[in-house]
Amino acid sequence: MSLINYSSREINCKIVYYGPGLCGKTTNLQHIYSRVPQETRGKMISLATEMDRTLFFDFLPLELGQIRGFRTRFHLYTVPGQVYYNASRKLILKGTDGIVFVADSQIDRYEANIESLMNMHDNLAEHGLSVDKIPIIMQYNKRDLPRVVAVSELEKELNPNGNPYFESVAFRGTGVFDTLKLSCKLVLKQLG
């Protein structure tokens, strides 16, 4: 949940990148970190295993600067994608203002996407949050790979609510900022 501090004139919002293991959530944050001006970003924190798999979360604070006199910040988080880290996923999701669901477009990860999405719905419900109330952006990642599911098929299966979507190749940065920008805008729109 966003926190508006009228005294220090600050607004803090939280966006969570969700999706199955190895779909590219951390890669999204790494690309953002590498491209935004230094004064805009804070320290990126990755609580990862020795094998560079996310253990708890990645965290990247971004500062938009002053908007109407309010210092506006976004806190980007990723969840650990691997199935057995659900307790951690649930914790990170708490209090989120927006979600980016990163789907892995590869044919053999099709089921993993569905499972992760259902898991997200369950976890949101446990926090008393509904997918209709929180801005969700779909990102179909790894579109450069040869054996991928058609976007129309992914849309049908993963996005029946018609949330906005972007195609991406996160390690090259394609689609990463489009996704982030829209997510930030929708989150702030809810505050306005």
């Binding site: 926190l3 005294s7 491209r35 924190i45 600067g65 109407r68 708490k94 306005g192």
Partner: protein, 167 residues
């Protein structure tokens, strides 16, 4: 309990500030922070810490969240306080109103016992201020919707986002 967005108003901010100042002095702590349970810093006073306070807040909230789950697993409703004791620097964390976390950074100039004692008193005072704030927000949420930032805010934010986040 207030759900969704929450806001901190001038008078509440200063009331909180005063409590934290008094706590820092009486406990001889180095600095005191108040953090929202989702990892957002509400207020920080005392010596400017030599670390990134935003990251610190996020990790402190995660620390608490993980420990709350551990508490549940062993049959406790929560662990209301956490202590991380180092050789020079130590941390005392306490959850208040199930919503915010009080963090006290202290060194060997004081003792854990004193910090714990003073934290307990400050927690009661903070609870009163927060309860008043939540009641106020509840009223606003029900009567006049959530605090708003004005219609132009979203438009200006969009421009800012477009200019900042470019490939």
């Amino acid at each position: 309990m207030v759900k969704g967005n929450w806001a901190l108003f001038e008078e509440d901010f200063w009331a909180i500030n005063q409590i934290l100042q008094a706590l820092m002095r009486s406990a001889s702590a180095r600095s005191v922070m108040l953090i929202d349970k989702t990892g957002q810093l509400i207020n920080s006073i005392g010596e400017p810490p030599g670390f990134d306070v935003t990251s610190f807040s996020s990790l402190a909230a995660a620390d608490f969240a993980a420990n709350a789950q551990l508490a549940e697993m062993v049959g406790e409703s929560d662990f209301a306080t956490l202590v991380h004791q180092g050789t020079k620097e130590s941390l005392f964390l306490q959850v208040i109103a199930n919503r915010v976390i009080l963090v006290i950074l202290f060194d060997r100039k004081t003792s854990l016992g004193l910090v714990r004692l003073k934290a307990r008193r400050a927690s009661d005072e903070l609870l009163n201020v927060l309860q008043r704030l939540f009641d106020k927000l509840q009223y606003r949420n029900e009567e006049v919707a959530a605090p708003t930032l004005g219609a132009d805010f979203a438009a200006e934010a969009e421009n800012e986002i477009d200019s900042l986040f470019r490939d």
